[in-house]
Assembly symmetry: D2
Homo-oligomer: 105 residues x 4
């Protein structure tokens, strides 16, 4: 189980807003989630996705393709992978682990 | 007003857990927040901070220093800046904007 | 043809040096290059790899696995993808294009 | 002495090319370099800059501003900081260190 944090930046858009492209990507992610393959969460800066790493790479490729479907010719995608194998860590666990550390001080 | 998304990765830790370092960073951020300089939010993958860009650079420097205070000798910090100037956008606005786009389809 | 820029950060190493892990990754990349699947270049901060995007995802997965083979339990990998489809752009072209712009000023 | 790896992505450009913006940034960096404050190197994917960390933050702010000067309203800047304090490491040293590891196998 790994967690990835992804931003897909469409380049050459008409104006500064990109929320229409982000909405497309959310639809794609909802599809993968319904199939039980991933969990995901939208933050103000990126989308965080949790799943098996090979599955996550497929999902990343799918959302990276989305702006090209709308006619754009260039996309800059940024991915942070956090892959920990000594124990199964889910998105919530990471937040809780920090809170416990702070509470115990 | 800009929004930044920051991960501070301590290198050379004893074992895979880094939550103790993340807890330190949260304390520092609470301090800046109390002074009214920033808003911030912890996600499972990073910390998102909102404020004026010069202020944000000071904050980033401060949290990047934290692991060195604990004796580490190397830190890898990753920063994504989203700086939009045609309108004032806050963290919540970005999420809402995507939700509105999806609801209107 | 896409270009990716990858850093693989091993977490929980004994001390600040990670060059041994980077050397492993270079060996893996040389293997893929000999098969004619990619071109790559090491920079002081990352490895830049050029190839078809699905191939690049396989390569990224392979190098992300390397530190686990040495017994580490956590790896943080960071990937920037630049994917441009209006014309075939290779690594060298990008540098040349900036030089031409500067020379013509 | 730290090393940073920076991409400045202008959003809302007319078309997929951004080399004109990258050329502006190179001019700014040449200015800082002439003052003896930094060393830098352009790669096909980013600009790598070496210097003292507070200086580097000033430089990053300056190049992040460049696309706004050309009338754009949004810029996405991505920064990787590698800050090692057990020894003074320069850009070339990092590449050499990996080569030595590979040669000794």
């Amino acid at each position: 189980m790994a967690i990835v944090d992804v931003t897909v930046i469409p380049i050459g858009t008409d104006g500064p807003s990109v929320s229409d492209y982000v909405a497309d990507i959310q639809e794609i992610l909802v599809g993968f989630q319904k199939e039980g393959k991933i969990e995901f969460r939208l933050t103000p800066m990126s989308t965080i996705i949790e799943g098996n790493l090979p599955e996550l790479f497929s999902v990343i490729q799918a959302i990276h393709e989305a702006p090209f479907q709308k006619g754009l010719q260039r996309v800059a995608t940024n991915i942070r992978i956090d892959d920990r194998r000594d124990k199964k860590v889910k998105m919530e666990d990471k937040l809780n682990s920090v809170e416990v550390k702070r509470a115990n001080r």
